[in-house]
């Protein structure tokens, strides 16, 4: 009789090489190598560069957290960019124009994001509309709502006076806090929020029953249902969480821009998907993890950074980004 063997302390080389984490790290290492080679002004050897990279990728990374969970259920969430826009507008409106307390403004904004997410989750889970379609509709709807709430204008600290001039209000302290760098100016607050979202997602996926259900549904929805898993509730919660993360990202975005722009977050959903995919989470569902997404986010962050350090023009930058995304994904495909 064979017993399940104890896990070896050192996994075999083959297993290490084939693990998706190794693959994701390899892609990251490649991008970092590019940074070390094309190192204009020695920028890559300064912590500021890395700190800025982390700050710039944070909003995308927060979106990618929710996206990861949704993608593991074999779904997709196209609405994240629009919900970010909507919640940025709402948060700016509450804080800058209605002068709500930060506590209330954050609470209501998060709730708005959650409601949007649960709505698309309901369409997917209860009405069985394909995630692509359901969240596409939410994407359009939320963008429209952002424009409606803001009247199509950016909501900023500048308040129009009857005589046609603008008076600039003081920026609320909470905005300044979100936009600051702490620990001796070495890390941005939004980056810490990003790390917090990663940690929360990891907790859900690795430690909670909910996370196991997410993997099971993505791996084989019918088998999961026949094993007594509450498929509808799980999907509802997961899309809801994605909406909640969008609101977090929207708040960060508003604080960084000092305004609520109804156009904010345009095409961010594509960046979020790219982060998840570069990390190696499978769009077919059932496989992947938040650690991979973290690596994916940093990879995309460094890629942007390397290209901007070297002052690569926007046209070339976009083309190179496209090529490198495909390169990374192809690299991960050669697993067998």
């Amino acid at each position: 009789m064979e017993k399940p063997r104890k896990k070896a302390f050192f996994p075999s080389w083959r297993a290490v090489f084939q693990s998706p984490t190794t693959r994701a790290l390899a892609a990251l290492a490649f991008v970092i190598l590019l940074g070390v080679i094309f190192n204009a002004d020695q920028a890559f050897f300064k912590w500021d560069t890395h700190r800025d990279m982390l700050r710039q990728i944070s909003v995308f990374g927060i979106l990618a957290c929710g996206m990861t969970l949704v993608i593991i259920t074999a779904g997709i969430d196209l609405s994240v960019g629009s919900i970010l826009g909507l919640t940025a507008v709402l948060f700016a409106l509450f804080s800058l124009q209605l002068h709500w307390s930060p506590f209330l403004a954050v609470g209501v904004t998060l709730l708005a994001g959650l409601v949007c997410g649960v709505a698309s989750g309901g369409l997917v889970a209860y009405f069985r509309i394909q995630p692509f379609i359901a969240t596409l509709a939410m994407m359009v709807f939320a963008r429209g709502m952002a424009k409606w709430v803001s009247g199509g204008q950016k909501i900023s600290t500048a308040v129009l006076q009857p005589d046609g001039t603008y008076v600039y209000q003081e920026v609320p302290a909470f905005f300044n806090f979100l936009n600051s760098k702490i620990l001796g100016g070495n890390i941005a607050v939004v980056t810490l929020i990003f790390f917090f979202c990663i940690a929360l997602s990891w907790l859900i996926l690795a430690k909670l029953r909910w996370g196991r259900y997410i993997y099971a549904i993505g791996g084989n929805e019918e088998a999961a249902r026949l094993s007594g898993i509450p498929v509808v509730a799980t999907k509802l919660l997961t899309y809801g969480l994605s909406g909640l993360f969008c609101a977090v990202a929207g708040i960060c975005q508003a604080a960084q821009e000092l305004q609520g722009d109804p156009e904010a977050g345009l095409t961010y959903e594509l960046t979020a998907i790219a982060i998840v995919v570069i990390g190696g989470t499978n769009l077919m569902g059932g496989r992947g993890g938040i650690g991979l997404t973290f690596i994916g986010a940093i990879t995309i962050g460094y890629l942007e950074k390397v290209l901007s350090i070297n002052a690569v023009g926007e046209a070339s930058r976009l083309m190179l980004t496209g090529i490198i995304i495909i390169g990374a994904v192809l690299f991960q495909k050669f697993r067998q």
Binding site: M1, P4, R209, W210, R212, Y215, A224, R225
Partner: protein, 508 residues
């Protein structure tokens, strides 16, 4: 018979075929004359489908020769066979349900004016002629999914007419039809016969075989048994020829451990998920004692799997009837409730509805009982792992590590993983649908042993298996379903392969 003076439409001589070293067909001969319905019969796995697939150009590496109208042919693809006049009407039909009736009829043989421009007018004209010939009233521009399976089957026949097929293969064509539709199909078959077509007819239903068939060729375990005229072959003899072999498989001895009345099912109905106002399980009643194995026999389309799914709550609201478990009336509307009440369902599709392929062995095992290890939502990983390891040991699942992906296991071990998943939920009644399908003899034996052990512990089992010897060896009683209804019940002593098969084919 006068037919022997005609030239045969089709001759298949000394056909042999093996799949990766396993011989599934050897020295099979088959002849089809114009105007003949030739039945092909045999148990599941006898090689009927393989033979048909060779004829239809699906399998191309076979031994032997195929002669069509006196010339030797070799089909490299189904399309070549179709063009040569061999048309197969499968159980899963080769139609595109989202396209119109007309487009389906001409699919792959569209009438064009050259350069790929479709000539709709000519197509429509031709289609009307064909449908009139078949006596079928359908709208040509309506999409196919608007019509019931019976009509779709007729459209498949129309498609065969387009290809000017002379040979039509019908593989269980009546499995989805009601009696009226069967009559209509038979009328069309008789028309085709009169026109000199040859029809190869596969069916498990005794009454049909005798009603429509002229001759019958019987296969058993991949070998040719013989060809007989149905006028001269009695049903009893036919069944004996089909079953024939000695039971060589090994089964552990089964002792009966009958306890208290456990599961009582009264007047149970399950709605047909594909057709409104039809039942796939009709008015089924039975009871099951603690420690008992009740076998459920029936052909494809008899509703046996649907019965288990219906009891398990897979169909939600679309069931009717009373279910009592240990004296308590149940009202199960979801698998979740079923599991809570102590039911467990092993489905007949391991990959499709049993396993979560990307997950590890361990996570597959604990999947249905996660709430035990996470009362507040947090999974107690240590407790979970210990319980999984215990199950893996109890069922002797052979694995390298609990973290291994379940896909990497052999079929037998995968099946044991699913059984382990269900045992972890501490079920009272196990619903097992083909528990030993596609697994090797050794693993089968282990599963039989497990079934004996569990019933000795007082669990009850509802067992579906299409392997009759297995059913006879393991079941304490056998319920035979025919078209969704209970045809007959046999005790262990009464049951034999012959009388089960007869009842399953609708004869008492």
């Amino acid at each position: 018979m006068t037919k022997t003076r005609l030239q045969p439409l089709l001759q298949m001589k000394h056909i042999g075929k093996s799949f990766s070293g396993v011989q599934v067909l050897r020295e099979v001969n088959f002849e089809l004359y114009p105007g003949e319905v030739h039945v092909l019969a045999g148990e599941n796995g006898a090689g009927k489908t393989t033979l048909i697939k060779i004829l239809a150009g699906v399998h191309t590496d076979y031994e032997g020769e195929i002669w069509l109208n006196g010339t030797k042919v070799f089909f490299k693809s189904p399309h070549e066979a179709l063009i040569a006049g061999v048309s197969a009407i499968h159980q899963e039909m080769s139609l595109v349900n989202s396209m119109t009736v007309a487009d389906n009829i001409f699919l792959g043989r569209e009438i064009t004016r050259g350069w790929g421009w479709l000539d709709y007018r000519s197509q429509e004209k031709r289609a009307r002629e064909l449908l009139a010939q078949l006596g079928l009233e359908v709208e040509l521009q309506e999409t196919l999914d608007r019509y019931p399976v019976a009509v779709r089957q007729m459209i498949e026949v129309a498609k065969a007419l387009i290809y000017e097929a002379r040979i039509i293969i019908m593989d269980e064509p009546t499995s989805a039809l009601n009696d009226l539709e069967v009559d209509r199909l038979f009328k069309i078959i008789n028309d085709l016969k009169r026109k000199g077509w040859g029809i190869i007819y596969i069916s498990h239903r005794m009454e049909e075989i005798y009603e429509i068939g002229d001759r019958i060729t019987i296969l058993r375990d991949g070998s040719y048994v013989g060809t007989y005229s149905l006028d001269e072959l009695f049903p009893q003899e036919l069944i004996r020829l089909m079953v024939g072999r000695d039971i060589t498989q090994q089964f552990p001895p089964r002792e009966e451990y009958r306890g208290e009345e456990r599961l009582i099912v009264k007047n149970f109905y399950v709605a047909d998920p594909t057709q409104a106002k039809k039942w796939v399980v009709e008015n089924v009643s039975f009871n099951l004692r603690a420690g008992e194995i009740l076998g459920i026999a029936g052909l494809q389309g008899s509703g046996k799997s649907e019965l288990l799914h219906g009891l398990f709550g897979s169909y939600g609201q679309s069931v009717r009837g009373e279910v009592w478990l240990d004296g308590v009336r149940l009202s199960i509307r979801s698998p979740k409730e079923a599991i809570k009440q102590g039911l467990a369902l092993l489905t007949n599709d391991r990959q499709g509805t049993g396993l979560i392929p990307p997950l590890s062995v361990g996570y597959n095992v604990s999947l249905a009982s996660l709430e035990k290890f996470s009362p507040k939502g947090w999974i107690d990983a240590q407790r979970e792992r210990a319980a999984i390891a215990e199950m893996v040991q109890a069922l002797q699942i052979k694995i390298h590590s609990l973290d291994q992906e379940v896909q990497t296991l052999s079929g037998g071990n995968q099946q044991k993983v699913i059984l382990a998943k269900w045992m972890m939920t501490s079920p009272k009644v196990l619903l097992l649908d083909e528990p030993t399908a596609g697994i090797d003899v050794g693993a089968k034996y282990e599963i039989y042993n497990l079934m004996n052990r569990w019933t000795a512990e007082g669990k009850s089992i509802l067992l579906i298996t299409s392997e009759l010897p297995e059913l006879l060896a393991m079941a304490d009683r056998i319920l035979v379903l025919h078209r969704g209804q209970v045809m007959q019940e046999f005790s262990r002593e009464e049951a034999s392969q012959e009388n089960i098969l007869q009842a399953a084919m609708g004869r008492r």
